[in-house]
């Protein structure tokens, strides 16, 4: 399989505004410290790490919501590292993002149908309203939900609207950033199963950012473990769980509270 994404020696730093002097530039804080990896077409890649590990920043650099400081990001062979917005526009339809908090990423004043149709009209696709309702069906919601507003939906339903908006554009790649972390387990199970079916049916490539390895295990083919802006482990999902190499990976694995009463858990600190 050819690679859909190639990321080479990616660095990203942002100004640290908490340390900015009154005059002059703020010192820069290095968030991504040289990441290199590829994502083959059709792969489901899990990206895991603690808070501050840079996993969300990496995701945002990949879909060019942030511009990398150095290194290269290639999408389907095209260098998008420093491309301007005009140059990115034709590609934007092909890589989509689903955000963590559907309450703040869905416009509360618009109906579900309009929310899903908006990017379709933006990209000049024909028949946005009909496509929007089709997308609703694909995430297992009735077409009548098109008339509802986000506040009339449950958390899991809202997150499915986020998925519908992303897949309506028929993208090649989806970046899902912590999309189940605010959900109850039942909605989480549902969202994961919908996502898995869509990946299979649409031949999607997916990067799934999460802090929760037990969720990643259910969904992903391969896992990148990030710690303090570096990749500390890059392994197939089964290999990672069977035989974790990095100390940080073992620490993450051991911190998962398994629903199984066992007294030794606290002893393994």
């Amino acid at each position: 399989m050819p690679d859909l994404y190639q990321v080479q020696d990616l660095h990203l730093s942002l100004p640290d505004m908490t340390r900015k002097p009154l005059f002059g530039a703020a010192p820069r804080i290095e968030i991504l410290k040289g990441l290199t990896f590829d994502i083959p077409k059709g792969q489901v890649l899990g990206i895991v790490g603690g808070s501050g590990s840079g996993k969300s920043t990496l995701g945002r650099a990949m879909v060019r919501l942030l511009e990398p400081t150095s290194g290269r990001v290639l999408f389907d062979g095209q260098d998008i590292t420093h491309r301007d917005e005009g140059g990115l526009r034709p590609l934007r339809r092909r890589f989509q993002m689903i955000f963590q908090d559907p309450m703040s990423s869905l416009n509360p004043r618009q109906t579900v149908a309009r929310i899903i149709a908006a990017p379709l009209s933006l990209h000049g696709l024909p028949d946005p309203s009909a496509r929007a309702l089709d997308a609703l069906e694909r995430v297992g919601l009735p077409r009548s939900f098109g008339n509802r507003f986000p506040h009339q939906l449950s958390g899991g339903q809202r997150q499915r609207i986020g998925i519908a908006r992303a897949i309506a554009l028929n993208p090649d790649f989806i970046l899902a950033d912590e999309i189940v972390s605010g959900l109850d387990v039942s909605s989480q199970a549902q969202v994961l199963s919908i996502l898995r079916d869509l990946v299979r049916d649409m031949g999607l490539t997916l990067a799934f950012i999460s802090h929760d390895l037990s969720v990643i295990r259910r969904l992903c083919d391969r896992v990148l473990v990030l710690h303090q802006g570096r990749i500390v482990e890059d392994a197939g999902c089964e290999a990672l769980f069977a035989n974790p190499q990095a100390a940080y990976t073992r620490e993450l694995l051991d911190a998962i509270p398994d629903p199984d009463p066992e007294n030794a858990w606290f002893a393994r600190a």
């Binding site: 603690g50 808070s51 958390g155 109850d184 387990v185 039942s186 909605s187 989480q188 199970a189 549902q190 994961l192 199963s193 802090h211 929760d212 390895l213 037990s214 969720v215 295990r217 259910r218 769980f241 620490e251 993450l252 051991d254 911190a255 998962i256 509270p257 398994d258 629903p259 199984d260 009463p261 066992e262 858990w265 606290f266 600190a269």
Partner: protein, 290 residues
């Protein structure tokens, strides 16, 4: 006599007949760790809040009793009730950022309660604050007590809130999703700390969480709630061998299990939800006839 005894507690949305808690009864023994679990909106936090007398204005207790060591909290005059709760009970809140006042140093945020509610003098309260920070393994208590919340990490702030809850040696602590906002690795450290502090002080603990994994690790018994109704109350070991109620079974089946990675996660099936909702409606019917 049980240490904490809640009987037929009903809480409504103020001014309506809509119940948020539906005849909740539960018992907690002294030094016991009881988990309160359920999905969002199940009313699990509401129980702790009713008990501590910190229900939001929009909620109102309409019936039932909450007995702490034989005293019914709901029939006490407000001032007496506040003093009693302040002496006997404490809260470990969910969000360490909003639970601390950002414009005050840590020291008074721990000691004010000891001085104002328990009537200690400042010097004694200050000594106790240092002592208790030592106990939660904070290395430089003096520096931390003089800091503002924003100068400390999330894990550190949660440690301070735990220390603060244990400072007055309460007999009962309500921990309301204390690790939900934290990283998994920090979550484990904090759970371990709560576990050790609880064992050391012999405090009864009401642990509110949506995470059955956390319940398995820290609780001895648990109560499963749905729509403000208790659907199951069980010993933790027995529960994880096989829950009695269909809804609890479904909830457990939706929770990722490390030891069984191949098992598919299944959402709570529609018929199970329909059945438990019917149970809620039935409870409401007998309530409105009473």
């Amino acid at each position: 006599m049980s240490f904490l005894k809640i009987r037929d507690l009903s809480v409504v949305l103020r001014g309506t007949r809509h119940r948020l808690l539906r005849n909740v009864s539960l018992d907690v023994a002294a030094t016991e760790v009881m988990g309160l679990v359920g999905e969002s909106g199940a009313g699990k936090s509401m129980i702790g809040k009713a008990l501590l007398g910190i229900l939001p204005r929009s909620a109102q207790v309409v019936s039932g009793t909450i007995e702490l060591e034989g005293v019914d909290l709901l029939t006490l005059p407000p001032r007496q009730r506040r003093t009693l709760i302040g002496q006997r009970a404490a809260l470990i809140p969910q969000d360490p950022l909003t639970a601390l006042n950002p414009s005050r140093r840590i020291r008074p945020q721990i000691t004010d309660r000891l001085v104002d509610i328990l009537g200690w003098d400042r010097a004694r309260a200050n000594t106790r604050a240092e002592e208790i920070l030592n106990e939660v393994q904070i290395a430089a208590p003096d520096r931390v007590l003089g800091s503002y919340p924003h100068e400390l990490s999330g894990g550190m702030r949660q440690r301070i809130l735990i220390a603060s809850a244990f400072a007055a040696e309460p007999r009962l602590i309500v921990a309301d999703e204390p690790t939900t906002a934290l990283d998994v690795t920090v979550q484990k450290q904090i759970l371990k700390l709560i576990h050790e502090m609880q064992a050391l002080h012999g405090t009864a603990l009401l642990f509110v969480t949506h995470d059955l994994g956390v319940v398995a690790k820290i609780c001895q018994r648990l109560t499963v709630l749905y729509g403000g109704l208790v659907v199951e109350e069980a010993d933790v070991r027995a529960f994880f061998r096989g829950p009695a109620h269909a809804y609890s079974r479904a909830l457990l089946a939706a929770t990722p299990r490390h030891s069984d990675p191949e098992a598919d996660l299944t959402p709570v099936p529609e018929p199970v939800i329909a059945a438990v909702q019917e149970q809620v409606l039935a409870a409401d019917r007998s309530w409105s006839h009473a």
